[in-house]
């Protein structure tokens, strides 16, 4: 049963990604990509990585994609439609509806399997306890390096993204 679910979810991931990379409107593309990442999170769960699956949903689908949406809306990159229209046509939201329905039914089947018995549970999976021991024991130094990397990224993003510096403005006014 989990094998069948794996192939269904793989198909949903590929279809959603295919839709995402061919859309003209970046907002539609991000929505399809959120679908694809949810399916990928379920795949991670099926492959015995429940914690990674949760972080895929939280970090990728929850944080990074919303950041993309913020930037798209801030820069007004999405083509705007006339306000008197009733919203998108049915053929525009039908694919995303079908993909989401597939995802929800797969999730429900997975939940049903888990409570049913040992058949649905992967025969090997990493518990959060093992994960934490390995991450902060064996890979403790790497965690420190990654935290430095995140700090540098935050400083770099602040530096690149800040509005025109004061010195440049003074120079412009002087000349």
């Amino acid at each position: 049963m989990t094998t069948v679910l794996f192939y269904i979810l793989g198909l949903i991931t590929v279809l959603a990604t295919l839709m995402a990379i061919t859309r003209r409107n970046p907002v539609h593309s991000v929505i399809y990509l959120v679908n694809s990442f949810f399916a990928l999170a379920l795949l991670f769960y099926l492959l015995g990585a429940p914690l990674v699956a949760a972080w895929e949903v939280i970090i990728y689908a929850g944080a990074i994609m919303v950041l993309f949406l913020f930037i798209i809306m801030m820069l007004e990159l999405a083509p705007t439609q006339e306000t008197d229209q009733m919203g998108p046509n049915w053929w525009q939201w039908l694919p995303v509806l079908l993909l989401s329905l597939g995802l929800v039914s797969c999730t429900l089947m997975l939940i049903g399997l888990d409570s049913a018995g040992p058949q649905g549970i992967p025969n090997w999976y990493a518990t959060p306890r093992d994960f934490g021991y390995a991450l902060f024991g064996k890979y403790g130094l790497a965690v420190e390096v990654v935290s430095f990397q995140l700090l540098f990224a935050a400083v770099g993003a602040f530096y690149v993204g800040k509005p025109e510096s004061r010195q440049k403005k003074i120079k412009k006014e002087g000349s």
């Binding site: 989990t2 793989g10 970046p26 593309s29 990509l33 944080a63 994960f131 990654v146």
Partner: protein, 101 residues
């Protein structure tokens, strides 16, 4: 392992190729970044599949580092998109094809 490792690798290869095609074919900076995201997720799927195949936890920890790397990359690259948009008023990569010292 519920499926053979080859099938996981096949799926992640398809996803990687889709992301690569998105990076190469699209001219919108945001779409190029989305293609990079798809490629990084395909790599993550490979790592989780290998972790399940050898029943070692190291692959999943690599995925966590991959996610940290991705969030750093996305924050800097989106800040650069905002900066480039402020400079030229567009996110079309064809507007940024000149290099001057």
């Amino acid at each position: 392992m519920i499926v053979p490792l080859e099938h996981v690798l096949f799926l992640s290869a398809i996803l990687f190729m889709l992301g690569l095609g998105c990076v190469l074919a699209r001219r919108n900076l945001i779409m190029i970044l989305i293609g990079v995201e798809i490629m990084l997720n395909a790599v993550g799927l490979t790592l989780v599949g290998a972790s399940a195949f050898w029943q070692q936890i190291d692959g999943q920890i690599m995925v966590i580092f991959l996610m940290a790397m991705t969030s750093a990359e996305v924050s800097i690259s989106l800040a650069m998109v905002v900066y480039l948009n402020r400079r030229k008023g567009t996110v079309d990569v064809r507007a940024f094809d000149e290099m001057r010292g």
